[in-house]
């Protein structure tokens, strides 16, 4: 199949789009001076700030503007250098692309896009039916993070896996592509931009100011509310009890307990003390390890992330979804937040 101009506009990350830009021979200085391109690029960024994004369903701009404004918006996002902002932008663009993919009736167009990302993907006829398979490495790369992790149908364990290939339907390919786009945009936007033209820099500064104004609202749900001990999740309560009574704990259990407590703001001293009942307790060694997990040894003061619930299940140390709250969270750290919000509801 051939990728036409409209496709390039819808999917501006395709190599054909890059060819179009390099064919035009434009640099950012030129691009930012084209009013409709600049307008569209700013709109792309500003739309991503919205709580509920508005997508342009039928293309409202010409393909060239779409492609150039995508490149410019990416450069803006990169220049703003705020991880939260980059996350929002990537999510917005990926959702927009999914809007197009959902209405895509040409199966080969979807396959073409997948191949543009170097996916190992194949379409075959099996007993008269068209089937699509994706190599398992691509499948898990796109399902193991982001928004698909919670759905059991995206877990590799629940799929047909044969000879390294995972069977998927066209809708699922689109959904996986959406994740791929999101991850790729995030990666590209994290690259350092050099020699930013003056006009672009002033746009970046304005956008940053605008974003910082809205950031507190966007981060409302990320607010750090620390848990009281009575609000700890069942796994952590269990580990605490075992640590306090000097029972043996595996590496995964110790790691989970320590990182959880550190992330809840418990001091290194208190965490070290917690293990003093262990018969193999060595204050110096324990302190070294706890400080290491607290991130103090590398000077960034940010504790290691606590394992996700799914990882605890993998390692066989999840105490099981004994209560309703556990079934709705991804990480033990958010247990108390979810619990508080359910209590408020009822």
């Amino acid at each position: 199949m051939s990728i036409n101009a409209v496709d390039i506009a819808k999917y501006p990350f395709l190599p054909q789009a890059r060819q179009l830009i390099s064919g035009l021979g434009f640099d950012f200085e030129t691009i930012v001076d084209i009013p409709r391109v600049r307008e569209r690029a700013l709109q792309r960024i500003l739309s991503s700030f919205e709580f509920k994004a508005h997508f342009s369903k039928p293309l409202t701009y010409d393909p060239q503007t779409e492609v150039l404004s995508y490149a410019l918006a990416l450069a803006y996002a990169s220049g703003i250098k705020d991880p939260k902002m980059i996350e929002r932008f990537a999510l917005y663009e990926a959702d927009q692309i999914n809007e197009y993919l959902k209405t895509e009736t040409r199966e080969d167009a979807i396959l073409e896009i997948a191949r543009a990302f170097n996916w190992a993907i194949r379409a075959e006829k099996d007993r008269g039916q068209n089937t699509i398979s994706v190599h398992f490495t691509k499948f898990i790369e796109n399902t193991s993070r982001g928004r698909l992790v919670h759905e059991s149908k995206w877990r590799l364990v629940n799929r047909v896996l044969l000879g390294g290939w995972v069977r998927v339907n066209p809708y699922e390919v689109s959904r996986l592509l959406q994740e791929e786009v999101r991850i790729r945009i995030e990666e590209s936007a994290k690259l350092e931009l050099k020699n930013i033209p003056e006009k672009m820099q002033s746009d970046i500064d304005e956008l940053r100011t605008e974003f910082l104004k809205r950031k507190p609202t966007l981060e409302e749900f990320d607010n750090i509310v620390r848990a009281q001990e009575s609000e700890y999740p069942p796994c952590i309560t269990g580990f605490l009890k075992r640590a306090a009574t000097g029972q043996h704990m595996s590496h995964v259990e110790r790691f989970t307990l320590v990182t959880y407590l550190l992330r809840q703001g418990v001091s290194v001293d208190s965490v070290v003390n917690l293990f003093s009942g262990m018969s193999d307790f060595n204050a110096e060694k324990t302190r070294y390890q706890v400080e290491n997990l607290a991130g103090k040894r590398y000077g960034d003061d940010k504790p290691y992330m606590t394992y996700n619930c799914a990882s605890l299940q993998t390692h066989g140390v999840c105490s099981g979804p004994v209560d309703q709250v556990c079934r709705t969270i991804r990480n033990p750290l958010t247990y108390h937040l979810r619990k508080q919000s359910t209590q408020r509801t009822y």
């Binding site: 590799l156 896996l161 044969l162 995964v252 018969s279 299940q313 993998t314 390692h315 066989g316």
Partner: protein
């Protein structure tokens, strides 16, 4: 191990590595790996070492005289740097299958435990609490018994079948090793998996163990209608393998096995009494509720029990750790004096670790054995021994010393 015995083993290990007839197969891309060595004397791990080539590695071994040699499954730009500055370039996919947690017919009677608090001791699996004082800290002495190692081998056969058929890895990408102690290592070395991060590898582990398998019909209903969870197994992928495991479990199940899975009373009696019907109707035809007294709950329990067994058998932390240090091929295990050795996939069933992993083939040594079960090395059988002095071939003497069951007689 007393200082005298330790020195004896250290010298033997060192002589072994100096022997030009002993071939070591270094890992691929040796200059991108981190190496680590456990030292006899200091009992510490020396980490973050790198070598430009194989000769460099040999020199380090001569110099450090280690009891154990490890390398990283990861490839780094700068293997000697601190962890966060190493520049991770990728990692092999590694599985560690250890006999420790597999229920076996030997019942681990060769293992010994001593309470760290009151010194009360016993044989077999370590209890959760000391029967005498209730203490929970134990010193343990395990034993690499043939029965245990064979059970680990059975699990390895299953894993390799899955890596081959489901994951589609090629024969030349899968490397299988006897670990030198109580299990097997499987390394997958191919570009396709090299860049997978820890979270993605977790998905592979879950597939291998069956963790997260959606076993109830309820979850699959989109309508959200409330119904009790109905046990359901499909015929494809990981489901089919769980079905095979369940079939095998039921076929050989005793009352005790069922109790281990949490099945007691009428359900347990029904499974034992109507075994044939259970196998044919429930497992074969998927009519899970067709035998009286065997409810959905029973099937969920069996599935969970079998999944947990596999989680224990495959060290899930090893496979998901993309910086993991693993024992190097053709080097000695400090807890046994046996070698970690690779063998061809099609040799897995015939492979005899007690012959092919024996490193020390010459000489004898006099040792005082505190206690040891009967064991075999090569063609010869030794023991059992209790508090006695014996002269043994070097390999047998070193095995006992390394296992903490004997000391060298000071002449």
């Amino acid at each position: 191990m007393d200082a005298f015995s330790r020195d004896f083993v250290r010298r033997k290990f060192s002589e072994f590595y100096s022997d030009p007839t002993h071939a070591i197969h270094p890992p691929e891309a040796i200059n991108e790996r981190e190496f680590a060595f456990f030292l006899f004397k200091e009992r510490i791990m020396v980490r973050h070492k790198s070598v430009a080539n194989f000769n460099g590695l040999k020199r380090l071994i001569q110099e450090l005289e280690p009891s154990d040699i490890y390398y990283s499954c990861a490839y780094y730009e700068n293997p000697e740097a601190d962890m966060h500055k190493k520049g991770w370039l990728g990692a092999d996919l590694v599985f560690d299958i250890d006999a420790d947690h597999i229920p076996t017919s030997c019942d681990k009677i060769h293992d010994e435990w001593t309470c760290g608090h009151c010194r009360f001791n016993g044989k077999g699996p370590t209890p959760e609490k000391c029967p005498a004082c209730g203490g929970q800290k134990f010193e343990t002495k395990s034993w690499p018994c043939e029965c245990c190692i064979n059970s680990a081998r059975e699990e390895t056969v299953k894993l390799i079948d899955l890596l081959d058929k489901d994951f589609g890895f090629l024969e030349n990408e899968i490397h299988v090793f006897f670990s030198g102690h109580r299990g097997y290592h499987v390394h997958v070395e191919t570009e396709a998996i090299r860049l997978l991060d820890s979270i993605a590898r977790k998905e592979i582990v879950d597939y291998v163990t069956g963790s997260g398998l959606n076993l109830s019909k309820k979850d699959r209903q989109s309508s959200g209608v409330e119904s009790s969870s109905i046990f359901n197994l499909h015929e494809f992928g990981r489901y089919r393998r769980l079905k095979l495991d369940m079939r095998k479990f039921i076929e050989t199940a005793t009352r005790n096995n069922l109790a281990d899975a949490g099945i007691k009373g009428r359900s347990s009696a029904a499974i034992l009494e109507y075994k044939q019907q259970v196998l044919e109707r429930c497992i074969e035809k998927g009519m899970w509720d067709s035998v009286r007294d065997i409810k959905n709950e029973t099937w969920f329990k069996i599935a969970a029990y079998l999944t947990n067994l596999r989680i224990a058998v495959i060290d899930t932390v090893v496979t998901t750790d993309i910086h993991r240090l693993i024992r190097m091929n053709d080097t000695l295990h400090g807890k046994s004096g046996l070698l970690k050795v690779e063998f061809p996939l099609n040799h897995l069933v015939q492979f005899d670790p007690f012959r092919e992993a024996v490193a020390f083939k010459e000489g004898t040594a006099k040792v005082i054995v505190s206690s040891a079960p009967q064991f075999r090395l090569g063609e010869s059988t030794f023991g059992p021994y209790t508090k006695q002095e014996v002269e043994l071939p070097t390999a047998a003497a070193i095995l006992l010393i390394c296992k903490g069951r004997a000391e060298v007689v000071k002449s």
